[in-house]
């Protein structure tokens, strides 16, 4: 079992994704983001909340879907969460790592 060494111990998987999305708080998001060298703005939170809602609805997430969300386009999504935007945003949003079908 892995835990994150944040202000309070939170259980994560081997890649640092929260095991339980309900343990997520905006403060926690800031801490995870800092560890990824990302400073969160309101726009970031709009994306994070959208991801959390979609995940709760059981939607399989993709970069393209975020690009169609009406909140950001794909380019902006990359700017907000550099590197692997979906992987990083999911980690910060406290939801599991999005999987592809192989």
């Amino acid at each position: 079992m892995e835990t994150m060494t944040l202000s309070k111990p939170i259980e994560t998987d081997a890649n640092g994704y929260l095991k339980d999305p309900n343990q997520w708080t905006p403060e926690l998001a800031h801490e995870i983001a800092n560890s990824l060298h990302i400073t969160l703005t309101d726009k970031h939170f709009e994306v994070l909340n959208w991801l959390r809602t979609k995940h709760a609805e059981g939607v399989a997430l993709s970069i393209r879907k975020v690009g169609n969300s009406g909140i950001v386009d794909i380019k902006q999504f990359y700017q907000l969460f550099p590197g692997g935007p979906l992987k990083n945003a999911a980690k910060i949003a406290g939801i599991p790592k999005p999987v592809s079908c192989i």
């Binding site: 169609n68 380019k75 999504f77 590197g83 692997g84 999987v99 079908c101 192989i102």
Partner: protein
């Protein structure tokens, strides 16, 4: 008389027509199947055509050959599904009504989705092998190409037969080796995913192969546009990959009539929201979806469509009797992975279990080795073409279980 209407006579639609005709009372049910294309392409063969392993004529037959006697085949394009009215409009203006509808219209490569892909270099230095035309054009190109930077690239993370681009890469390596020009070709594999493959055990094996074959992998690369003048791929985060010859897998989309009928998923890829266990549409109880057209989180592959067909047959019979849809699809998928030099590997997995090493029992043929590269698996892959035309499409039960089995697998 009641109407069962199937849209699409590809792998899944044809299988369903053949299975249903044996199980539905002919006095009660009329089965109709619609497709816009009179030719049936054996799509797994698209992989072999560029390298001259299959000739184009070997992978095309007339669809009508595989439609069972007693079913009605209509050659026309579906324009719109009116789910509330149980009606389907065709391009010719004809309107069909149904009691049960099966959507089996698959997905298609759409190069127009990526800026600059279908530009000046299309079919000159940029090719796809996901279409018959692309595969044939690419075979002509490869015959005379003198070498340089070969880039194999995926435009989206969800594509049919997700291993096909890797197989293409392996086959390209052996093709150029056999022609004595491997040293003149630099091979790069560019993917929007975090690696060439994403399931841990299979990744370990495939990464070893990529290294051995000296293929460099560029992961997390989501192409924003193709610069035709400079011959480079440009990603959304402004990285670049140069190419001399680009073999691309365009965005795969469901048919546009899915969007026109407001039946598509919210990613704009026109995949139909479908219950991943029962294969019933999420919108209408008398509408079912099978094969590549669904949004279920399984591979888009012929083998998956084949396993789904057994489940769907059962559930349609339940539906007709007013019973709960008891048959449950588990996401079972298996596929051969061509690795070049006359060898292949075999993987078997489902929604919850990743591909594992071990043995895969096929009666008569004998145990095939999972996650191992060998000759028998390669013959299995080539033999599949025969199985496809003669058994699979016509709905003959293949000797593999519908639900994934753990027998013979090594989990540690």
């Amino acid at each position: 008389m009641k109407d069962l209407l199937i849209l699409g006579a590809g792998t899944a639609g044809t299988m369903m027509a053949n299975k249903l005709i044996r199980h539905l009372n002919k006095k009660e049910w009329k089965i109709t199947i619609v497709d816009k294309d009179e030719n049936h392409y054996y799509q797994p063969g698209f992989l072999f055509v560029p390298f001259g392993i299959y000739q184009p004529h070997e992978i095309v037959k007339k669809k009508s050959e595989f439609i069972p006697a007693g079913a009605h085949f209509i050659l026309d394009e579906v324009k719109n599904i009116l789910g509330e009215e149980n009606k389907v409009e065709l391009k010719s203006g004809k309107v069909l009504t149904y009691d049960i509808l099966i959507i089996a219209t698959g997905v298609e490569p759409v190069p127009e989705e990526t800026e600059g892909l279908k530009g000046d270099l299309w079919y000159k230095d940029i090719f796809d092998f996901y279409s018959f035309e692309g595969a044939v054009k690419l075979s002509e190109k490869l015959r005379t190409w003198e070498g340089g930077k070969l880039v194999i690239q995926l435009n989206e993370s969800i594509i049919k037969c997700p291993v096909a681009p890797l197989e293409f890469t392996f086959l390209a390596d052996s093709f150029f080796q056999e022609r004595g020009m491997r040293d003149k070709v630099n091979i790069t594999y560019v993917t929007p995913l975090s690696g060439a493959f994403t399931k841990p055990k299979a990744t370990a094996m495939l990464n070893g192969l990529l290294e051995e074959k000296q293929v460099s992998v560029v992961p997390d690369f989501y192409v924003q546009h193709v610069d035709n003048e400079r011959k480079v791929l440009v990603s959304y985060d402004e990285r670049e990959v140069p190419f001399d010859l680009l073999v691309t897998v365009p965005v795969n989309k469901g048919d546009r009539m899915i969007a026109a009928s407001e039946l598509g998923d919210d990613d704009g890829l026109n995949f139909v929201p479908t219950d991943k266990h029962t294969l019933q549409s999420k919108k209408f109880a008398n509408m079912f979806v099978i094969g590549d057209a669904t949004n279920v989180p399984a591979s888009k592959a012929g083998s998956v469509a084949h396993f789904e067909a057994d489940i769907l047959l059962e559930n349609i019979l339940h539906y007709i009797k007013g019973e709960p849809l008891r048959a449950q699809f588990d996401g079972h998928s298996n596929c051969f992975i061509e690795t070049g030099h006359g060898k292949a590997a075999l993987i078997d997995f489902n929604y919850t279990t990743e591909p594992l090493p071990g043995k895969f029992p096929i009666p008569v043929v004998g145990p095939m080795e999972l996650l191992k590269v060998n000759r028998l698996n390669h013959y299995g892959k080539l033999m599949f073409r025969w199985v496809y035309w003669h058994m699979l499409l016509t709905g003959i039960k293949l000797p593999v279980p519908t639900h994934m089995s753990m027998a013979g697998k090594v989990t540690a």
